[in-house]
C-alpha cells in the first residue's frame, strides 16, 4: 500500500466519523461549559499577561513611569521603531535563530539516537542511561551551566587537561563560546526528547518492527520508514517544544558567557531583552522585544504545523 493510499484512507475515515456524530459543536453550549475552567485559567494566566505585554510595548514606560516620577506617555509603535532601527537587535536576532536551530537539531539527533539505543540495550545499561539522562534533566540550568563552565575552565578545567590544550580559553571566541553553551543546552534538554521518543517507540506494535526486519530492513531504514512516520505526532511535539525552549535560552548564555560574552558577541534575544528591560529599566522596550519573540515563535509553530498538515498529518 503506497503512502498516498494510507493518507486517503485516513482522511476518509475522519470524514465518516464527523458525519456520523450527532450535531457536532453546533447549537449546544455544553462544549463551552466543559471548556470554561480551562479557558478561565488560560485567560488569566496567558491572555492577560500577553495583553499587558502588548500594552506596555506601546508606551514609554521606564522605572520613572512605574514609580510615578514622570507621567506615562503613549508612544504608538515608537518602541518597535527604536528596536527595528537598532543594528544590534538584528545581529542578536540572527544569532538567536542560528543558535536555536543548531540546538534543536543537535538535541533531536542526540535524543532520538539515544532513544533507539535504549530499545536495543539490556536492562542494566538501559537503567544506567535513563538515570544519567534524568540526572541531567533534573539539574537546575544554573548549576549545569556552572559545572560545564568549570569543566572547560582555562586554568583548572579537566577538559583542557585531557585534551592537552594548555590554557585555551573556550569562552573567548564567539563560536567556541556558542559551542560550549550548545553542549550544555543539548545536555540538559535531550533527556526530554529521549524519554518521550523512547515511550513512543515502545508503543509501536512489535509485529511492525518484526515485519520490517524480516524484510531485511537496516536499522536506519527501520527508523526512517517505519518509526518516523508512526512517531510523527510525538516528534512534532518534541520539535516544537525544543524550538520554543532553545529560542528562549537565557540561563546558559547568561551564566556561561558572563551576560552575553566578550563585547556582547554571544547575546541571544532573551538576554538582550533582559539587559534592555530589567537591567536598564526600559520596560516598554523589553516588552516590545517580548512581543516580537512571541510573534516569531507563533509564526514558526504555525508554519511548521501547516507544513505537516499539507503532508496529510492530523495532530
Amino acid at each position: 500500500m503506497s503512502s498516498r493510499a494510507v493518507e486517503r484512507g485516513r482522511v476518509r475515515v475522519g470524514r465518516g466519523f464527523s458525519r456520523s456524530s450527532p450535531r457536532p459543536w453546533g447549537g449546544s453550549r455544553t462544549p463551552w461549559l466543559y471548556l470554561a475552567p480551562a479557558l478561565v485559567v488560560l485567560g488569566g494566566l496567558l491572555a492577560y499577561p500577553i495583553y499587558q505585554l502588548g500594552l506596555i510595548s506601546l508606551f514609554h514606560y521606564t522605572q520613572a513611569q512605574v514609580s510615578g516620577g514622570e507621567p506615562t506617555t503613549f508612544e504608538g509603535f515608537g518602541n518597535y521603531a527604536e528596536l527595528f532601527g537598532d543594528e544590534q537587535f538584528w545581529q542578536v536576532l540572527l544569532a538567536t535563530v542560528v543558535f536555536a536551530a543548531a540546538c534543536v537539531l543537535c538535541t533531536l539527533a542526540v535524543g532520538c539516537a539515544l532513544a533507539v539505543l535504549l530499545t536495543r540495550v539490556r536492562a542494566v545499561p538501559r537503567l544506567a542511561l535513563m538515570l544519567a539522562a534524568l540526572g541531567a534533566w533534573a539539574t537546575p540550568a544554573i548549576t549545569g551551566s556552572t559545572v560545564w563552565l568549570f569543566l572547560f575552565d582555562a586554568d583548572f578545567g579537566p577538559v583542557n587537561r585531557v585534551l592537552g590544550l594548555g590554557d585555551h580559553a573556550w569562552t573567548y571566541g564567539r563560536f567556541s563560546a556558542f559551542f560550549l553553551v550548545l553542549l550544555e543546552v543539548v545536555w540538559c534538554s535531550f533527556p526530554f526528547v529521549m524519554v518521550t521518543v523512547y515511550a513512543g517507540i515502545r508503543s509501536v506494535p512489535s509485529e511492525v518492527l518484526e515485519a520490517a526486519s524480516l524484510d531485511g530492513a537496516s536499522q536506519w531504514r527501520v527508523w526512517r520508514s517505519v518509526l518516523v512516520p508512526m512517531l510523527r505526532p510525538i516528534l512534532v511535539v518534541v520539535t516544537i517544544q525544543s524550538v520554543i525552549w532553545d529560542f528562549k535560552v537565557f540561563t546558559q548564555i547568561y551564566v556561561m558567557t558572563g551576560g552575553g560574552g566578550i563585547a556582547g558577541q554571544n547575546l541571544v534575544l532573551n538576554v538582550y531583552a533582559y539587559q534592555q528591560a530589567f537591567a536598564s529599566s526600559q520596560y516598554s522596550l523589553g516588552a516590545a522585544i517580548g512581543v516580537v519573540m512571541l510573534l516569531i515563535l507563533l509564526a514558526v509553530t504555525l508554519v511548521y504545523l501547516r507544513l505537516l498538515r499539507r503532508q496529510g498529518e492530523e495532530l
Partner: protein, 430 residues
C-alpha cells in the same frame, strides 16, 4: 471603508490610552508623624555583624531622643537591591522610610521619583561642611541634595612586595612605568600577569582615562554629552587596553574579567599587581599573598602624581513617600554622623565621607593611608544623570574595552560607537 478603518484605529488608540499600564501614586506624603515605627533598609555586607553593632548603638540613642518611636532595620542582600528598591518605589505602602543605596544610582532614583529632596536639612546640618566635595556631588542632582553620603570606596594599586624585591623592580611612579613594569614582570614570570586587568572592569579603567585628561561625559544636570571619544580619553583607553596581550594579561583570559576577578587573581598569587579597593582588603588578606603585598595610590601620567580615582560608596536617603519625614531625616543624619561613620570604619573598614574623620582614621590604621591619599588627591564621579544606570546596565564601556582588546575594533572606532550609545542614553532621558 477608509473612514471606518480610521475610526477603528482611533478607537483602538483611545482604548489603549484609556487603560495605560499601571503607575504608582508615589507622591510626597503630606503626613509628617512624630511617633510610630520607622523602617530602614541597609545593605547586608559579607560580614555584617560589626555593621549591625555600629547601627544598633545609633538606634538606641535615636529611640531615647524620640520617645514613642521605634526603628526596624532590615538588611537587604546587595545582589537584589535594585529590584527591592524599585519595588519600594512602586509600592509606597510597604516601602521603608530610609534606605542605603549605591551612589551611582542617585540620579536614577531621583528621576524615578523615589528620593526626598533634603537640601535644606543638609545645608543646616553643622557636620555637612566637612563632607568631601566628591561625596557631596554623589548625593547632588541639579543642585539639590537627595541624601547624605554614608561611606566612600576608592581603588589603589596593590602590588607584590616579594616579586618586586626578587626582580629588583621599583614601584612605578607613572602610568608609563606601570605598563613597562607589568610587562617586565610577565617576561620574567610568565605564569603571572604583570598587572591583572579586566575588560569588564570599568572602575579600574576609568583612572587611566581621567589621568590622561579625558572625561566620560561633559555637561551638567540634564544635558550631558559623551566625551569618551575625545583625544585625551582615547589616550587613556589606549594606555589601559595596552595592558591586554600575551606580554601582560592575555586577552583570551582578561577580556572577560571584572573587578572581582582581577582581585581574585591577585589574591591567589596569579598577578603581581592589581587595582583593588579599600573594600578588597579582606579578600586579599584571606588569599595566598597575605603579608607579601603593599598598596600605593595608582600613579598618574606625571611622576609623583596620583591618577584621579572613582569615588564609589553608598549614601543614605529618605524616601519621598515617607510619612515620618522629620524623624527619618534625623535618623539619617545620626547614622551618617561623624561619630557613626567612625564607628562604621572601626567595625567594617569603610572609609568615612568626612575629610577630617578620614584623616583621623588614617592615622590609626596605616592600611588605609594610600586610599586616603588617593581620595585627598582627586576623585571623580560618574555623570550625575539618570542615563548612567542605563549606560552601566547595557555594558557600554565594557563592550568598548572588549571590542578593542579582542581586536574587533580600533580605539577610535570603539570609542566613537560607545560615545554614540552614551549620547543616545543621555538624549533619551531628556
Amino acid at each position: 471603508m477608509k473612514l471606518s478603518a480610521r475610526l477603528v484605529a482611533v478607537a483602538a488608540v483611545l482604548a489603549t490610552a484609556a487603560c495605560a499600564p499601571q503607575t504608582s501614586g508615589n507622591s510626597a506624603s503630606d503626613k509628617d508623624e512624630k511617633t510610630g515605627t520607622l523602617r530602614v533598609w541597609l545593605f547586608q555586607e559579607v560580614n555584617n555583624r560589626p555593621k549591625e553593632e555600629a547601627v544598633d548603638s545609633v538606634l538606641a540613642e535615636f529611640e531615647k531622643a524620640h520617645p514613642g518611636t521605634e526603628v526596624t532595620v532590615e538588611y537587604i542582600p546587595v545582589e537584589t537591591r535594585a529590584q527591592r528598591i524599585k519595588a519600594a518605589f512602586n509600592d509606597p505602602g510597604s516601602a521603608p522610610d530610609l534606605i542605603e543605596y549605591g551612589n551611582t544610582d542617585t540620579a536614577g532614583y531621583v528621576k524615578d521619583g523615589g528620593l526626598a529632596d533634603v537640601t535644606e536639612e543638609f545645608g543646616a546640618w553643622d557636620e555637612a561642611k566637612d563632607t568631601d566635595p566628591t561625596a557631596r556631588q554623589s548625593v547632588t542632582v541639579d543642585g539639590k541634595v537627595y541624601g547624605t553620603p554614608y561611606f566612600v570606596g576608592v581603588r589603589a594599586l596593590y602590588y607584590r612586595t616579594d616579586v618586586f624585591d626578587e626582580l629588583g623592580l621599583d614601584v612605578p611612579k607613572t602610568q608609563a612605568e606601570l605598563i613597562s613594569t607589568a610587562k617586565e614582570i610577565r617576561a620574567a614570570r610568565p605564569e603571572m600577569y604583570g598587572i591583572a586587568v579586566g575588560g569588564a572592569y570599568t572602575y579600574g579603567a576609568m583612572p587611566f582615562i581621567w589621568a590622561h585628561g579625558g572625561e566620560l561625559a561633559t555637561g551638567k544636570g540634564g544635558s550631558y554629552a559623551s566625551a569618551i571619544d575625545s583625544a585625551d580619553a582615547r589616550e587613556g583607553i589606549e594606555a589601559y587596553t595596552s595592558l591586554f596581550g600575551d606580554d601582560n594579561c592575555p586577552a583570551a583570559k582578561c577580556a572577560g574579567m571584572g573587578g572581582n576577578d582581577t582581585v581574585t587573581a591577585f589574591a591567589s598569587g596569579k598577578a603581581a599587581m592589581a587595582i583593588g579597593g579599600d573594600f578588597s582588603h579582606a579578600a586579599v588578606e584571606a588569599g595566598k599573598v597575605k603579608g607579601k603585598y603593599a598598596v600605593v595610590p595608582l600613579p598618574g601620567v606625571e611622576a609623583g602624581s596620583i591618577a584621579p580615582a572613582f569615588a564609589g560608596g553608598n549614601n543614605l536617603g529618605v524616601l519621598k513617600s515617607t510619612s515620618h519625614r522629620t524623624l527619618a531625616v534625623d535618623l539619617m543624619k545620626r547614622l551618617a554622623s561623624k561619630k557613626a561613620q567612625g564607628a562604621l570604619f572601626d567595625g567594617m573598614g569603610f572609609l568615612p565621607t568626612f575629610s577630617d574623620v578620614r584623616e583621623q582614621v588614617a592615622a590609626k590604621e596605616t592600611f588605609v593611608k594610600p586610599f586616603v591619599e588617593t581620595l585627598a588627591a582627586d576623585t571623580k564621579f560618574v555623570p550625575a544623570s539618570p542615563a548612567w544606570a542605563r549606560i552601566d546596565a547595557s555594558l557600554v564601556l565594557p563592550t568598548m574595552f572588549q571590542e578593542i582588546v579582542s581586536g574587533k575594533k580600533s580605539v577610535a572606532a570603539a570609542s566613537a560607537d560607545a560615545a554614540k550609545k552614551m549620547n543616545e542614553a543621555f538624549g533619551s532621558v531628556g
